[in-house]
Subunit: 163 residues, 2 copies
C-alpha cells in the first residue's frame, strides 16, 4: 500500500508540467509543444511550473482520492506530496502521447508514462501509468490542463501490449 | 485482488451504455441524454447497446490492462468479462456527471459512479469509481464515447468528499 501511495503521488506530480509555446502554427503542434514541456518539467519536479500549467478551474482525477477541483486544490496536493517525498528525485521519465484531437479551444490526448524515482534512501521506484487529458487553449494561445485522469499500467510485454 | 479485478471488469462494463436521442436542441442536452441512456444500459448490463455506444475508433483506458483501441477490441473485452461474471446482475447503479464542455462535435465530462452487483452465489460487490469521458457527436447527431478512463474512488465520507 505504501508503494502504491507513492506511485499515485509521483504520478500525480508528473501530470503537471510547464507551459508550451503559444506561437505554434497549428493546434496539434501546440499540444505537442505542451507535451515536451510537460515532460521536461516533470523530470525536474518543478512544482511552480507544474501549477502554472493548469487552468484555474482544472480537475484532476487520481485513484482512491476525491477529485481535486481547481488549481489551488491541485497546488496544495502537489506541495503535500513533495513534502512527503523529501529528497526524492526523478531518475527517468517518458510520456508517449497518442490521438491528439482538437476542436476550437479544446483538445484531448492519451498517454502512456514510465518513471523511475530514486528515494532519499536510495530505493528505486519504477512505475507505469496511463493518462487521459483534456486540454484548453487560453486567450493567450497557450494550452493548459483542464482535466486529467490517471490509472496504473503494466510494464510493457511484447510491442503493442502496454497496459 | 480478485475483488479488484471484478471491480475493474464491472466498471468497464458500466462505461458503455446505449445511444442518446439525436434530436436535442443543445449539445449539453444531448450529452445529458447520453448519460441517462448510459445509466439505463449499464443497469441492464446490455452488451449490445453498450458496444453501439462507442465510436469505431474509441479508446478505453482501464487500470492495469493495456489500452483497448477500437470498438472491436472493446466489444471483445466486454464479452470476456460477461462470460467470467456468469449470472451476476447489477443491483444498483448511479452515475453522477459534472462539467459538461462542448466544442463543435467534441465534448467532455467527468463522473462519479457507485454500483452494487450481486454475484451468482449471492455475494454483493459494492464499488465506487470515477470516470473521465471524451465524447464525439457523429454525423447522425448522436453522441458516442470516443475515450474513457476509469479509476477507483472511495466510498463517500462527508458531503463533497467523494474520492
Amino acid at each position: 500500500m505504501r508503494s502504491a501511495y507513492i506511485a499515485l503521488v509521483l504520478l500525480a506530480l508528473s501530470a503537471r508540467p510547464a507551459l508550451p509555446q503559444g506561437s505554434d502554427s497549428s493546434a496539434t503542434a501546440g499540444i505537442e509543444a505542451f507535451n515536451r514541456v510537460f515532460e521536461d518539467a516533470t523530470r525536474r519536479m518543478d512544482n511552480a511550473a507544474i501549477v502554472q500549467l493548469w487552468e484555474e478551474d482544472g480537475v484532476s482525477l487520481l485513484p482512491s482520492i476525491p477529485p481535486l477541483i481547481g488549481r489551488q486544490a491541485i497546488a496544495a496536493f502537489i506541495e503535500d506530496v513533495t513534502a512527503r517525498l523529501g529528497g526524492a528525485r526523478m531518475d527517468t521519465f517518458t510520456n508517449e502521447c497518442s490521438g491528439i484531437e482538437v476542436s476550437g479551444s479544446w483538445g484531448s490526448e492519451w498517454c502512456v508514462q514510465h518513471q523511475v524515482v530514486v528515494m532519499s534512501d536510495g530505493r528505486r521506484f519504477d512505475a507505469w501509468g496511463k493518462m487521459l487529458l483534456v486540454l484548453h487553449r487560453g486567450s493567450d494561445g497557450r494550452w493548459r490542463l483542464d482535466r486529467e485522469m490517471w490509472n496504473q499500467a503494466l510494464a510493457p510485454g511484447p510491442p503493442g501490449d502496454r497496459g
